[in-house]
């Protein structure tokens, strides 16, 4: 650097007097501390999280500290905060806490322990299902938003049908046919890539193979529309009825039927973000598409997605509780809040705590998630922020 040019760039009053750095996350945290409702939601969520993990530890395993499946028929339908009758119970039947904190159910099982066990189910169902939904949503929404204008051409369809056929042959152990088709497919793909790398189109007689059929955006968004047409609870009921009852099936099914909202969200964000100057600037720097999508656009699009995910967790928990209530959910003897509620409904007048307790807990947790989610939405959206 030449010496005479040095003073030049120290001109510019005020450039040295800058405020200290606050990252966007630090600002978010600061705003969250001001929003009491969202903070309360977050606190309840954290308590619930800790309780669920403790519940998993103390009720899991072969010989749990607190056994949620321990049946004590002589102690059935005891109200909350009642003490066990030590004279009628064998030593191993005594509740480890020495008290039925939330009473017992119709088989004399400790409701408090069952609620603990159910907390983990609700938590994992919520997070795994929403994780699946958000994963699919980000992938499809991102594809649709960023590559939406591209057309699916006839040779793409041909390629995928070949792949499916190869898989089919392999599945039915026709290995020769599979190998032959695979060779054809790989040759064709390699040839097409060579043409592409030399910027050549397909030769004339084969040009019809490049005929555009659908746009990527059309395909994905119409799939979303179709999925939204199904009343999803009944879809879930049908699928659950066909599949063996298991907690993992429930998670996957709830996840696979709730990705549409996220997809639309992410697509909309991508559509607006990809036109912005910083994306053009990134492309002008020679940054690859994948890096632009995941490093430059995604962090800008993620905030509203996280908000909708938070709200989605609450609704996934509700769905699971609903399914368990109807008896399609997690199979007994495993306790979930839904099936505690369901078991209790027969005794609603004799033992109201059996329905009241899981009901109120579901209410509080779902409410907490919704409050937190909406609080975050207000924080991420400055227009909503000004209202308070």
């Amino acid at each position: 650097m030449s010496t005479e040019s040095k003073p030049m760039h120290f001109i510019g009053a005020g450039e040295t007097f800058m405020p200290p750095s606050y990252s966007p996350w630090a600002q978010t945290w600061h705003l969250l501390l001001k929003n009491r409702m969202a903070l309360a939601g977050l606190l309840i969520f954290l308590i619930f999280f800790i309780v669920a993990i403790i519940g998993l530890i103390v009720t899991g395993g072969v010989d749990p500290i607190l056994d949620p499946a321990r049946v004590r028929l002589q102690e059935k339908l005891r109200p909350p905060l009642s003490l066990p009758k030590t004279d009628t119970l064998r030593k191993e039947e005594l509740p480890a806490l020495g008290i039925y904190l939330l009473g017992t159910d119709d088989l004399g099982r400790d409701v408090f322990v069952r609620m603990l066990q159910g907390a983990w189910v609700s938590l994992t169902v919520g997070f795994v299902a929403v994780g699946i939904a958000v994963g699919i949503g980000i992938l499809l929404g991102g594809l649709s938003g960023y590559y939406g204008r591209l057309s699916i051409r006839l040779y793409h369809i041909l390629f995928w049908s070949l792949v499916v056929t190869v898989a089919g042959f392999t599945f039915h152990q026709r290995f020769w046919a599979a190998a032959l088709l695979l060779t054809v497919t790989i040759t064709a793909v390699a040839w097409k890539r060579r043409l592409d790398s030399r910027l050549l189109p397909l030769p004339g007689p084969l040009r019809w193979l490049a005929m555009p059929t659908l746009q990527v955006d059309t395909l994905i968004m119409r799939a979303v529309d179709i999925m939204l047409c199904f009343p999803s609870f009944f879809l879930i009921l049908t699928v659950v009825a066909l599949l063996p009852p298991s907690i993992y099936n429930i998670m996957v099914i709830i996840g696979l039927t709730s990705w549409m909202g996220t997809t639309r969200f992410v697509r909309a964000e991508f559509l607006s973000l990809r036109e912005l100057d910083f994306v053009a600037a990134a492309r002008a720097l020679g940054i690859s598409d994948a890096r632009i999508i995941f490093r430059h656009i995604m962090p800008n699009a993620i905030a509203p997605v996280l908000v909708s995910a938070t709200l989605g967790i609450a609704s996934a928990m509700l769905t699971e509780a609903g399914l368990s209530f109807l008896g399609f959910g997690v199979p007994p003897p495993h306790a979930t809040w839904g099936n505690i509620l369901s078991d209790g409904k027969a005794y609603i007048f004799d033992a109201p705590w059996l329905t009241f307790i899981p009901g109120v807990v579901i209410l509080i947790v779902v409410l907490a998630f919704n409050l937190f989610g909406e609080g975050m939405r207000d924080i991420f959206n400055p227009k909503l922020r000004e209202r308070n």
Binding site: M8, F10, T16, S21, S197, L276, D277, N300
Partner: protein
Amino acid sequence: MNPEPHSDLLLSVKNLKVHFQGVGPVAKAVNGVDFKVRRRQTVCIVGESGCGKTVTALAILGLLKQPPAVIAGGEIFFDGLSLFDLPASQMRNLRGKRIAMVFQEPMTSLNPVFTIGDQVGEAVLVHEEVSDDQARRRTIQLLYDVGIVEPEKRLNDYPHQLSGGQRQRVMIAMALACEPDLIIADEPTTALDVTVQAQILRLLKRLKQDKEMAIQYITHDLGVVAAIADHVYVMYAGVVVEQGSADAIFSKARHPYTMALLDSLPTKEKRGQRLYSIPGSVPHPAYRPLGCPFHPRCRYCEPSCEKAFPDFFDYGKGHEARCPVLYKSGVGEKDR
């Protein structure tokens, strides 16, 4: 003709045509543009909004959205490489590493969620195999080079904490990251106020000397052109209407459009007078007049101008203008 690599000629655009196909007739945004950028030269492309300056720049970088844009003809050679024949992957390696671009709007050209250190560092890391630590040191050096005070501290700043001028400096630092041969600056000072504009221009001038780069500077501001240009191309309605050294353009412009642009520039001598403005507006790219595209607004217009598209007329020393009327009559030669 494919120019030799490593010759003095860095970029040559030949008869470039970029059309936009929307609803209705084809908009011929760039309709046969030729220009050359030599090494270590500052070339200014001047013209009103909508005359195809930015589209030309985007075409060079291969960043035009196709569709709706269509490269309808022409060639671009960069250091012996034909850019339209390069596969996408090689084109991407060229962008940022050998040709970099500085955009018009510094307020939105930086990603709001990353620190400027991250973004300048990324520009280094994308094209060069260096460790994070080396990239960090390069980033600090780059920020220092573009005149950011205390770059070590500013590394962790987010774009919203910087002023417009500082952001444009950061953008320039990103463009400089891989020491490109050519920087395309698309109106980099338009969004900045005048004092900052002067700083940025001085910065570009100094960097050009220090780093031996060529600059293709796109602007509509003749004041800026006077400050930095070696060679000037005046564009109107998708074609170059006049080209020449900065001296030739400012002292003896030979195209009515250039002359009109110069007349509409406020100067000390014109103080107190009503400022000249060119009557009419730039024709829509899909509805250009036949013949000379400027003839409906031209004060020297003759009937022949409505028929034939004019060729360049040579005034020597690389100064050419597309106006047969002025070439024949010599009008205006003594005025300037």
